[in-house]
Symmetry: D2
Subunit: 356 residues, 4 copies
């Protein structure tokens, strides 16, 4: 039954309901001797936090993280690192209407079927609140990867509904560019169009989905475990566990199916004594193992299901009814999904690094 | 280090190199009392087998499966079910040239980097030969799901390069339709075009990729384990572990990002005392848990990297060279990928069924 | 690297250093719908708490447990149940001398060797403080086993140094008898001798070890997973993970080696339509699977290594020195080990119950 | 449900019924580049094989092991190493009487309760035949430990019924001494008495149990994972999973409870630049982590339950009956248990070595 743990050697266990007092995460397996302070984690949580900008929900979560175990004098001990965040500003009133109605494309119905009860006062574990735990744990994974291997991880908004940013080479992208606008799209022109589209959807009481791209640079060759724990497979597992994610692709992905083998194959070359590939349709992974090129991919997020526009649904007894979500919800989760995707990539890479 | 086991309660361990005498798989956790004979497994292996038709490799693997443990008087005992297949017709000569050359977009380079050696005489564990073990184990999972829950799993070729079949409702598709042609595309007109394209690519010494669609009908609501072991996440893990898979999407997937929330949400209705949804953009999964609708998705496969067309590459010492693959290789793996995808879906569902 | 998680379906993750602010435990897999309040847990924690009586350390830990997730309106949700306890009254001064000395038969030296550092200000994860997390999680497992299966678990002090209590049949023992004296030995006469021996050892600045017996009644036949996860094997794993435990035996255990097969075998009989055994040398387990008889066994605890008597040791640089522990330490951990052993048994049984 | 896998990084999966054609084991995680031939494994299997001497069963199993995957040109590839052994000379007639009778202190009854069926034609997975798989896998673990760390593992018969050999310091014992007699007791005088006692029991149609001691020399400090995966805990898990094992103790074990803390503590000394302990009551493990001293312990085995002496029991329908086992059975498993215990110790140490 239990699915709240991820990873084998860098292993996280996430806990806490959105309507409870706290949520948290235990990281078991973080090596001893890593310098770590709350700031390392807070900076990532602040990027995930709601209420950062006009296009995200006005719900406030200040998300102050507290390191309650595993760190002494700003260094990890090798024992479990536990991070706790308070839930503030939860408002059960926002959920009162859902007490007796199933929200379309939410987890209300399936949780009731699985667990035999409903906690209508909030999304519980199915709430996006849970992703704060991943971001917090991911920040530790990221620090470890950076200090030990010089790995850097970048995520950005590639597409909002039908508005798509041009492609970037992983080396051309910087954290500054990504953070330069509220939608986290490194192409400023596209960013403007995306923001406009989101504002328009919000006015209509509707929501938009899109695609987040990611790249990890600096991974050495050799990470990933054949046969079932290929690097792609673990990324697929982690990234498809993010709420609202409906697709994951690596390297050329779905579009790569339009090419022939001779067009798609990545030719090897020797460069400064190292073997590299000219193109990177493989997305940095061959045979499930990293090849030293950037690990690149994309994650598709469906439009947020919570909308204020009226929708048809049924009550918990199966009677027809309608529902208009009140409360404060993101019209588009994409900008906040960026740090969540980055955290997921970091968690997978740290876990594989420790197995190599 | 070990990545050859998949699943928690219905757990398979796959073993064997393509150049060895045997490959096999151990299934631990298959419930006692399931009727099982070699035939149940052979039928699926025959669908995966090379040399079935003009558009697949002429390499022969007769793939006779032998049940060597866990079954007595045609019933499972509850103990590990071990399936063994002989490797026949392996031809090291096909690989002699690769002894000192890295094949582009293959696992040659990454295996050397990870394990410090090369077994040039064949793909070893990175060979598609390994997928026979999944198909064999998947056949057992499938039998269990059918007998116990009435679950049926269908896969089909949705797209070959740029040729795409129309969409099907899961209920409209039958095994007969899928098996009616050598490409396993249930739309006969598209099937003809796909076969033509593959033959053309083959003549040019090139290869094609594409997309396999899948649907599982009959899953009850309640399968899937929040937070990290969501049904989508486990499908992503399993299906992205298939060689050449570069993307997985569930329900509306990447295309779903073009819709607004109000268009994308699946309205609930009550039908014959059961709560269902009108549309199925969720792909049968909400909050990571099955909702009783068909579980649907798609897997993208890159074009086979082994082509007879000459390609640039480097030797194991890093010198520039060229390579033209001799030997017998599929110009398009898609039709043989269908039973592999179906097996992957079955393995995930059986594992989750036993946890529910 | 990570070893802070135990169990597969009823899975606990323990965290927190003795010198930190908090310790805690996350229980993943506790079924939904179990009635649970802090009281259910507190009652067991109070039995483990130091300072209960004259023969335990005067160090105060009030160990108020707080349920911070997984329970709503006094029922479990099926989501992770997180329990947090504050560390109070930790006194770094007690440890100052150990900063540069390795305590004999403690974890000081091995932790330094493994993690490359020392946190001299307390035992950290190696401290017996960690066992509070097990007892807390075990209380939840126990509640589940009692409500769902009518399983009851008893532990008692069987032996202190050379003073040994007579044997009891599992059915003859009650919680009241066990709690009737401060040493938790159900035979009052032996109890008195044990307490006397402990007081004598304490006066000499020395410590005593002993044996805790346990019995679980009400387990149905069928719990335990052959081959490696036999009921005995999992009990061995869990109980030998308790600090200071140096031996575990089930049923007749080491003494059973003195019998012949014909003396040792447990004859089957039919009683009220159920198949039982007359004797229980098997300790309720045959072939690794419970047989419906009480599950019985014993755990050996070495004498506490922390003593005020002067001992020879070396400094962290390897120079000869002596050490006399100051601070407040139990002269005999046995009475407090009783709830820890019971918790360990409960955790194993709950985990296996959910797999059956 | 599945319990046929042991280990995390050096992970074995055992399969096969005693009455089937084959049994085998898959080792996932054995590092690449280890020299390995069938001989390395056969030598250990030959020590476990029945029919080696007058005091073991006359049942013949020639136990020729075949390496069917994971090794190429006598070196491991880093892929799963699969070992297969044929079952020869199985004789269903020996079991015919048990078809309708439960053998006392065997797994017959519990397997029926768990799996809902009986395979009376042999012990199936509960048969000691299964231990051949452990010994085979353990031989690989042992080779790895020896080549990489210079670890040596010794097991010997310490006690048969009430006849006990004197204690040995781990350094004083050699493989030659252990193999010098058929009971594998390094003290030749005690060995003679043990053999005599076994022969006498056999004549009476009875059986004897006893204790196997073990020592592993050469383990560096730092192996073992706090909190739940302590070195002692994993040894307890593995060794109590051996059929007929009813107790495990480490270091001073149960007898250590007779000492006071000041007697029991192992004083540290500095010797040739290394920190060692004078005594080794800790059995080489402190705080769950190896301290560089020999890892020592003992395993108690109950007398074999299969005896030709008539016993009372019940039929599968619960009626009273009697049973006298025909067939060929060991009057005392102890000498054959020695390589099984050694294998178990090797499997635990290899697994922990790869996590350190």
């Amino acid at each position: 039954m239990p699915g709240n743990t991820f990873g084998r050697m860098f292993r996280i266990t996430s806990w806490g309901e959105s309507h409870g007092e706290n949520i948290g995460v235990v990281i078991d397996g973080c090596p001893a001797g890593l310098e770590l302070t709350g700031k390392d984690i807070q900076v990532e949580l602040d990027r995930r936090r709601p209420g950062q900008s006009d296009i995200s929900t006005s719900r406030k979560e200040n998300d102050r993280v507290k390191i309650v175990s595993g760190v002494y004098e700003e260094k990890t001990l090798g024992t479990p690192v536990t991070l706790i965040m308070e839930n503030k500003n939860a408002n059960p009133d926002d959920y009162r209407e859902m007490k007796e109605k199933f929200r379309p494309s939410h987890a209300d119905f399936t949780y009731r079927e699985k667990y035999g009860h409903r906690t209508w006062i909030g999304g519980g574990r199915a709430s996006a609140r849970e992703t704060a735990a991943r971001v917090a744990a991911g920040a530790v994974a990221r620090k470890f990867l950076r200090e030990k291997f010089n790995v850097e991880i970048y995520g950005w908004v590639k597409k909002v509904q039908k508005i798509e940013a041009p492609d970037f080479a992983p080396g051309e992208i910087s954290r500054e560019q990504i953070e330069a606008n509220s939608i986290r799209c490194p192409d400023s022109k596209t960013a403007g169009q995306m923001i406009e589209a989101i504002e328009e959807a919000e006015q209509k009481g509707d929501s938009l989905g899109g695609i987040v791209g990611f790249a990890a640079t600096g991974c050495p060759a050799g990470w990933g475990e054949p046969v079932f724990d290929k690097l792609e497979a673990l990324l697929g597992h982690q990234l498809l566990s993010i709420p609202a994610a409906k697709g994951v692709e690596l390297g050329s992905g779905f579009a790569g199916t339009n090419l022939t083998g001779s067009e798609h194959n990545d030719e090897f070359i020797e460069k400064d004594g190292e073997i590299k590939t000219i193109t990177n349709n493989s997305g940095g992974v061959q045979g499930g193992i990293s090849n030293g090129m950037p690990v690149v991919g994309r994650v598709a997020f469906k439009p947020t299901p919570t909308i204020s526009k009226e929708q048809k649904t049924v009550t918990t007894s199966g009677d027809e009814t309608t529902l208009s979500a009140s409360g404060r919800h993101d019209p588009c989760v994409l900008p906040r999904a960026v740090p969540i995707v980055e955290a997921g990539v970091a968690l997978v890479l740290a876990d594989l690094a420790l197995q190599s």
